[in-house]
Symmetry: C2
Subunit: 432 residues, 2 copies
Amino acid sequence: MSTIESSAPPRGMRDFLPADVALRDWATDVILKTYESFGFTRIETPALENINLLRRAEGGENLQLIFEVLKRGDKLERELSTGQPKREGLADLGLRFDLTVPLVRFYAQNQSTLPNPLKAIQIGSVWRAESPQAGRFRQFTQCDIDIFGIKNELAEMELLQATAEALRELGFKNFTIRINDRRILSALAEYCGFDPGRVDNVFITLDKLDKIGEDGVRKELHSAGHEQGAIDKMMTVVTSLQKTKNFAEARNALPEELQKNEALEPLANVIKDLTEQGSGSYDITFDPTLVRGMGYYTGQIFEVSCPGYTYSIAGGGRYDKMVGKFSGRDVPACGFSIGFERIITVLTDKGFKPPNAAAKIALICNPDQDDLTSVFSTASRMRDKGLIVSVQPRKKDMRKQLDALMVQGFTSFAFFKNNGEELEIKQLNQSP
Amino acid sequence: MSTIESSAPPRGMRDFLPADVALRDWATDVILKTYESFGFTRIETPALENINLLRRAEGGENLQLIFEVLKRGDKLERELSTGQPKREGLADLGLRFDLTVPLVRFYAQNQSTLPNPLKAIQIGSVWRAESPQAGRFRQFTQCDIDIFGIKNELAEMELLQATAEALRELGFKNFTIRINDRRILSALAEYCGFDPGRVDNVFITLDKLDKIGEDGVRKELHSAGHEQGAIDKMMTVVTSLQKTKNFAEARNALPEELQKNEALEPLANVIKDLTEQGSGSYDITFDPTLVRGMGYYTGQIFEVSCPGYTYSIAGGGRYDKMVGKFSGRDVPACGFSIGFERIITVLTDKGFKPPNAAAKIALICNPDQDDLTSVFSTASRMRDKGLIVSVQPRKKDMRKQLDALMVQGFTSFAFFKNNGEELEIKQLNQSP
């Protein structure tokens, strides 16, 4: 094996060193504690799912990115012996590409023994065979909360509050929750006269409004062959909505045909509640151009934007029709996902360091000279007082050893004097 | 899709419900906190490794159990178009089957930026395509600590103390650490006159002594074609060693040729230290028949036995020659692994329930009637006092709802009276 190449992790995947894990664990812990305080509980599913489940799932372009697991033993031999084996027949399992598909399967499988409503936390890895590029990884962490079994906007309110609270605890300020409802988008498309079979294409373009501007959206819809009358009608509505200052004004600015839409009252309630709970530390705003990619949303959809960053740091929505595709019976479902890797990027950009949980002492000994049993007993007594104590053999260059300990976050060091009779403890100067 | 079959997790893998995760998270947290108090820090590697790395690793029969990941895109097409594709060419990645192989790769890759000594914690999933059977899973959690960079028995002492302390914190009592050294086994094989090329086979059989007895071992070694003289010589030594009461006696009972073995002094030190630290709450004992399966061990090896269970609950040893196979330069290394799934089995058998972290209140509301903003503000104020508060919509059958809340671990419930002006909190009777 050539040394350097072969010891790298696989392409697009990462090793996490102690300092990396410390930051990730701190963020995980903050999020988890916050979600738990809202009564959510953690559930777990396997990293692998049956390949047919993943291939048939609603996952958009993620279905092209599944890491598929080769069949084994006789089953594989049978495929290979056909002479013309096909990709489809070679795999029987695949790594999950998100946490929503496994959650829906989990719910269908365990519904009878699960709490109702189920308020689930999932924090775990997902895998996508993307072309590696800056900030995009082939294994990354997702961090989701979902509520199954609540059909009204109580679910959206709890998800939004819990996520906003987690973001606040992580140190995020002045972020904005943007909110919309798929039912309003559908009604708008119908009102404008778009071809009902091509509504998804309209919204994928509308979603780009903040990136490509009004002219850009018009051009793209035109090139895609949508009727000019429908395009004009939609842009007129969207432009007038964007000029409104709050949701009450936006409601009035809607065409009369849309003002009775069933989605408006719940949306008003959620916006009122979150405005109240945010009380200035975060905002919520109606965004008629918010679409979100996944085809499975059926009601409210939401994203969180953070000042200074173009990407959203959290997103989610209601998907009431997904459990039914498994179990034959629809169950109301709503979820919100924090972009864990993005959070970590923002915290790293800020130079954030997680606080030490306890004083961390290196007990430096000389194994050839000190009585190790007495060294370890001393360490044990110090641990009983809540200290972190690492016994370390003394190195020749002690100055270098102490510098290295400081970098590792040690706050002090200790050693034995006078033939082991006296323990001396010294602070490590954290700013050398 | 047929409902029941398709919503099950893949064969040999498990869904974890809230109560399962609560127990697993509690155990993980206890282990992690203990290891951290000894100055170990967590590191993480990807679930996937390059397939050549895994196939060339020292993993014994685990190499036959790798879940291999199919190549993608052009690379796969090229393999399939050869007409006679072979298993070996179809995969480029594989799921890790243990945490040691990835750790060694990680160390070789990141050595220059890692602390020295490195005291690493790894808690994570591994995957093995075993034939599913009771208590054996295809995805399971391993929980390892390893020390890289300490060549003397200071490393063994710390690993043993930290693991013993974690087991104590998990509620285990009166367990026994069995310890041996591969160098003593090698010297014994040489002294007895076994074929040096077939020593591994001798030890695999010797390892079964407690299961198949002395006669069983003799028969198996005989059938395998080992020389009768060597078999007799070894059994005489082993039998006399087993009659000794402590390590000092065992040392004296060794053939004179073995009494100067370099492994004996460090072994004596470790046994002395752990006897002291255990101070009656656990034991350490020299076990000349302890072998452990993995071929990579080079020094001390250890296992923990728990009264009432035939399997060991932790195991490990020194493997000083593994990093060198990667980086060309040997680095002293020593590790200890807690059998996490076994620990969970024992705790479950005992009926152990993890303690509630905080009082857990269900704030029951009527979304059609109550002012939700005031409900959520109340919930938020209660959370500020450290309570877990889950807002839940009131169900028709409230008695049934309360019973279900109790099962989920809620300690009380609250609701609004007098048009939302008064909040009433009631205990949930935990023993109905």
